[in-house]
Symmetry: C2
Subunit: 149 residues, 2 copies
DNA sequence: GAATGATATGATACAACATATCATTTTAAA
DNA sequence: TTTAAAATGATATGTTGTATCATATCATTC
C-alpha cells in the first residue's frame, strides 16, 4: 500500500475512533494535500480538486473541510503563507507535541520536524524572561529544501 | 524628548545617511506605529491615520510607505498576522542581527527579543539535519503578554 | 526661476484569502 | 419513514494585498 493510501486509511480509522466522519469530500481534500506533497492555499485546492476529480468544490466547502481536518490534526495551517499542508504524522500512533515547519520558499514543500526539547526549553526561557507567555510553539521557518538550494 | 520623538529623530537621521527621504507621510505612518505601541494591519493604519491626522491616506500609499519603512529596517512585517510593527531598535546604534517576535494574541503588543546565539545554532543544526537551509530566521511566536495573561 | 527628470503619492481596479448566512442535501437514528 | 443533525452548496461580502496609470512634489541644471 502506498504511503498516501496508508495515511488515508489511518485517517479514516482515527475519525471513526473520534466519532466523526471522514466523508468522501473530506477524504478527497486530504488526498489532494497528501498527493501534491506541498503546501497549498484553499483556492489552489479548489483548482487541484477540479483537475483531479472533475467536479468543482466551492471555496467555502474547502475552507470548512480544512477546518475539520485541522481539528482532527490531519492538516496544519501555515500562518506565514496562508497555505495548508497534510500532517506528516498521520501514520504515527504517538501524538506529536510540538510542530515546527520548515517551508521551502521555492517549491512549497514542507518538512515537519521535532526540535530538541532542550532547544524549545531554552527558547521558552528567553520568552518568559521577556515577560511573555508562549501560547502555541508552532514555528514556521522560511527555508530552501535540498532540491531548491 | 519622548521615546517616540527620539525614534523619529533617529529614523530621520538614518534616512539622511542612506540618501533616502523620510517624508511627512512616511514620518506620520511611522509615528502611528510608534504611538500605537502595537502591531497594526495596513487598513488599521489607514483608519488610525485618518483619526490622528484628519486626512485620509489611500491603502496603496500605506502599503508603499510600509514597504519603504521595511527596506530601511524601521518597520517589520509580521507574516503570521499580516500586521506591521515599528522596529524596537530604531534608537540603537548597533545593527540587530536576528529578530524574534513575541506577539500577544490578545492586545497585539509585540516584543522584539534576541534569542541566545546558542539556541539559534541548535535550531539551525536541527534544520540542516533535515536537509533544509534556513533563509530567514525571523521567528514569530504566538504569546500572551504580562497584562493579558 | 523655468524646464526637466526623479521620486512620491493618489486613484482605480482587481486578485487572493477568508467568513457570514441561508438553502439544500445527505446521513443517522427514532 | 419521519425527523433531527450533520455536511455541503450558493451567494454575498469582508480583509489583505498588488498592478497600473495619473498626478503632485522635489531637486537639479540651464
Amino acid at each position: 500500500m502506498s504511503n498516501v493510501q496508508a495515511s488515508i486509511k489511518q485517517a479514516d480509522q482515527h475519525c471513526r475512533e473520534h466519532g466523526v466522519r471522514l466523508t468522501d469530500k473530506r477524504k478527497q481534500v486530504l488526498l489532494s494535500l497528501l498527493q501534491s506533497e506541498k503546501a497549498m492555499s484553499a483556492y489552489e485546492l479548489v483548482d487541484y480538486y477540479k483537475a483531479e476529480f472533475g467536479e468543482s468544490m466551492p471555496p467555502m466547502s474547502v475552507y470548512r473541510i480544512l477546518d475539520f481536518l485541522q481539528e482532527e490534526h490531519l492538516v496544519h495551517k501555515l500562518n506565514s503563507t496562508n497555505k495548508y499542508v497534510s500532517c506528516s504524522h498521520i501514520t504515527c500512533d504517538h501524538d506529536h507535541e510540538i510542530t515546527q515547519f520548515l517551508i521551502c520558499g521555492e517549491c512549497q514543500s514542507v518538512k515537519e520536524i521535532n526540535i530538541n526539547k532542550s532547544t524549545i526549553e531554552a527558547l521558552q526561557n528567553n520568552i518568559e524572561e521577556a515577560g511573555f507567555h508562549l501560547v502555541s510553539p508552532q514555528l514556521e521557518m522560511n527555508c530552501l529544501c535540498e532540491n531548491c538550494i
